[in-house]
């Protein structure tokens, strides 16, 4: 008899499923651990590694009595679709015997080099060996020795560690459609390789490193950099393109060591581009600004925050007193919350302040993988030509304050600034950057001349040197906030690192300035009370409360999924 929602029983517990799901998918969704190597949610099913085999009984359609499914053969759970009433055992003597046999077989030619292997600590072979393997090897013959191979700009292959799950090969054929990887040879001689001289350099190549369940495919950039158990992970969002790709920042002791994709079926699926994967280097650039500076005799001289803030507020005020306007160039690289606060700073000083969105870099054109796929295909992956994470979010926030159509783009900003006091009488401007590389253009430099300029930026550059006051800002990794991607999805990211020494998030700088303005612009007087501390979540609720059009920041922000609690596999002993 079939129940309304179909169920299968896995290891004695009934689990509902939706028709079409495989046994393994049901188990994975329910958090029942079934060992698996070759299966991956994002790839075709080949059922080749055989470690997921389980014992299955199914009801006889006529009598309803349980009978061994497929004559009692072990069944690959990754390939077998679940059907109502099935009884599955992944821990029966037969299933366990298979797990042990597969483990022993895989370890025959696998080197015992975990102490020097980058994957150690996040290796499926290591984990399963511990849980399903045996402690000793019966193999006395010679192991097959395979070479370490250079496969491309980012990817190394230690072939001797490969377990031939072919996830990597399927990725290049099914996801990127570039097909650089292959299985060379057959039997115990088979190995993964590229065609001689044709490297794997497609723009998603780094994903094969994540896919590899063992330490065979390695990241040149991360090679021998850090044992993975020292890494802490913080959920974040692609900070350099408009993709909104979900990422993990893996860091330790204040330094980012790598960036990995964070699964999100609605955005990046399981993947990220190499651009995003290696695009964090500017966070640790030698050109990071580490102290405020003010212009003295035409040159920037190091200053401190209290002084710099005072001069900044005084300068902006003077522009208004002289009958001029104040402008804000809010970069598309900063968080929505920060744009909101910075806009408040300039509007506090000048009700009619000019609000503009900074330049939005575009490189090439959008691309969809696999080539020829439609963008809406659930398997497709899109690479965005727009190289800024938050052009839409910044505009959305500024428009809520200034009114629709009242926010300038960069071109219009340049025109408004013009030379001297510009077409709209701008005499002072707050300019933010936070781009991963140099972004000052001659046009920008030209129109900043003759005005009072406060530059808030992360990296040194000509416009920072030219500014009357420069304030060191924090990169995406050093603060929390939200970005709105090309498809209008607003997603939050968390702070991974403490801000670079001497730098502060733009949001904090804005709070500091607002506080100073509220205290009459004198730091001495302001000293008695403290500025608010930048907290993205607080500001989001404030934004939603203060402006109806910003209600989305309370209702429609995508937050990182809560992490399944990692449970220790050893019993804790009280001492």
């Amino acid at each position: 008899m079939s129940s309304p929602t179909p169920t299968i029983t896995i290891n004695g517990v009934r689990r509902p499923f939706s028709p079409g799901q495989t046994i393994l998918q049901v188990a994975n969704a329910a958090g029942v651990e079934v060992p698996q190597y070759c299966y991956h949610d994002g790839l075709s099913v080949v059922a080749s590694c055989r470690i997921c085999l389980c014992e299955v009984w199914s009801p006889n359609p006529r009598t309803g009595a349980l009978e061994p499914f497929m004559g009692g053969k072990l069944v690959p759970s990754c390939q077998q679709t679940a059907s109502d009433g099935m009884v599955v055992h992944t821990d029966s003597p037969k299933a366990v015997a298979n797990q042990k046999a597969v483990m022993e077989y895989l370890l025959i030619n696998h080197p015992l080099d975990c102490p020097v292997c980058d994957q150690s600590g996040e290796c499926f072979l290591q984990d399963y060996s511990y849980q399903y393997g045996r402690g000793v090897s019966r193999f006395q013959e010679e192991k097959v020795k395979q070479p370490k191979k250079d496969l491309g700009n980012h990817v190394l292959l230690y072939s001797d560690r490969c377990i031939m799950c072919t996830r990597c090969v399927r990725f290049t054929r099914e996801v990127t459609g570039t097909g650089e990887l292959m299985v060379m040879g057959r039997g115990n001689k088979e190995e993964i390789d590229v065609f001689p001289g044709i490297p794997i350099n497609n723009e998603l190549s780094g994903n094969v490193i994540d896919l590899c369940p063992v330490g065979a495919l390695l990241d040149k950039d991360f090679l021998f950099q850090q044992r993975v158990w020292y890494l802490k992970e913080t959920p974040s969002i692609d900070p350099i393109t408009a993709s909104g790709d979900n990422i993990w920042i893996h860091h330790n002791e204040g330094k980012i060591h790598r960036v990995k994709p964070r699964e999100n079926p609605r955005v990046n699926k399981w993947w990220i581009t190499d651009e995003v994967r290696y695009g964090w280097k500017f966070v640790h650039s030698a050109d990071r600004l580490g102290a405020p500076a003010r212009k003295q005799y035409g040159y920037p001289a190091q200053s401190d925050f209290p002084r710099a803030y005072e001069i900044a507020v005084a300068g902006l005020r003077r522009a208004v007193e002289d009958g001029g306007r104040v402008a804000l160039l809010a970069s598309p690289m900063i968080a929505c919350e920060e744009a909101y606060l910075l806009a408040q700073v300039v509007r506090e000083i000048d009700r009619e302040a000019v609000l503009a969105v900074g330049p939005v870099p575009v490189k090439g054109s959008d691309r969809v993988y696999p080539p020829g796929a439609s963008e809406d295909d659930p398997r497709a992956f899109k690479v965005h030509a727009e190289k800024a994470p938050n052009a839409r979010g910044v505009r959305r926030v500024l428009e809520a304050l200034a009114g629709p159509g009242q926010v300038l783009d960069f071109e219009a900003f340049l025109r408004a600034m013009g030379k001297g006091t510009g077409s709209s009488g701008v005499r002072a401007a707050l300019v933010t950057g936070n781009y991963p590389s140099a972004w000052t253009t001659p046009e920008l430099l030209g129109c900043l001349g003759g005005k009072f300029i406060v530059a808030i930026d992360t990296l040194a550059g000509p416009h920072v040197d030219a500014a009357d006051i420069s304030l060191p800002a924090a990169t995406f990794a050093e603060k929390s906030g939200t970005f709105e991607n090309a498809r209008g999805m607003i997603q939050s990211f968390e702070r991974a690192l403490t801000a670079f020494e001497g730098a502060r998030p733009e949001g904090q700088i804005a709070f500091d300035l607002l506080h100073l303005i509220a205290c009459g612009g004198e730091y001495e007087r302001a000293g008695a009370t403290r500025p608010e501390v930048y907290d993205a979540a607080d500001i989001r609720s404030r934004m939603a409360a203060e402006h109806e059009t910003l209600g989305v920041f309370a209702s429609a922000v995508g937050h990182p999924a809560p992490r399944p609690q990692a449970r220790p596999d050893m019993r804790l002993v009280e001492i």
Binding site: P111, K145, Q146, P147, K148, K149, D150, L151, G152, L157, V169, T172, R173, T178, G179, E180, L181, M182, V183, M184, G185, R186, D193, V194, F195, P196, G197, I198, P199, I200
Partner: protein
């Protein structure tokens, strides 16, 4: 354990200016092979056969040309070609001796047959004579266990062999030009 490395990404393959897939060959494949298959992947095996038949083996350049011709990637082509030992990815002699080494033949005296041929040609299994005439390999079951031990010389099957008989068969004239390229040539 020795540290073996391979610069797969930076390897150079041998190239010649004259293509292996001449226009005439391509025209022939277009009319004879492609129409028989639904996908270009399907046409890969017969195309590999035909090119090997033409040139005796499958140089990397030829594999790249095949990939281009069938709109596959070179990696997909070599993936398939390297799966079957009957496709030759290194040069072989003009004529090929394939001695069956599977269980029936082995029991019926295959080791001695291999030894006799090795002695006669002065080469080891897997090698080619200096004059480029003969290549000797051992293969798995040829499907003729009832007449074991057997060997293939080019495309001709020789059955119920003895070591002496095996050596004598090498003197037989090759049959037709087609056979001069060995197994499935």
């Amino acid at each position: 354990m020795a540290w073996i490395t391979k610069n797969s990404a930076g390897m150079k393959i041998e190239k010649r200016s004259e293509p292996y897939l001449s226009e005439t060959l391509k025209a022939r494949f277009r009319s004879e092979i492609l129409p028989r298959y639904e996908t270009s992947m399907g046409a890969l095996l017969p195309t590999l056969h035909a090119v090997q038949h033409e040139h005796g083996w499958l140089p990397h350049q030829a594999l790249m040309e095949i990939a281009d011709f069938l709109s596959l990637t070179p990696a997909e082509v070599i993936d398939t070609a390297s799966f079957y030992e009957e496709y030759w990815l290194r040069p072989k002699g003009k004529r090929l001796i394939a001695v069956c080494r599977s269980i029936a033949c082995e029991f019926c005296g295959q080791p001695e047959i291999t030894e006799a041929i090795k002695a006669r040609l002065g080469i080891d299994v897997g090698e080619t004579t200096d004059d480029g005439e003969w290549t000797l390999v051992e293969v798995e079951c040829l499907g003729s266990c009832d007449s074991a031990p057997v060997m293939l010389v080019d495309e001709k099957l020789h059955e119920w062999l003895t070591p002496a008989e095996a050596v004598k068969r090498l003197d037989e004239k090759p049959i037709g030009s087609a056979s001069s390229h060995g197994l499935h040539g």
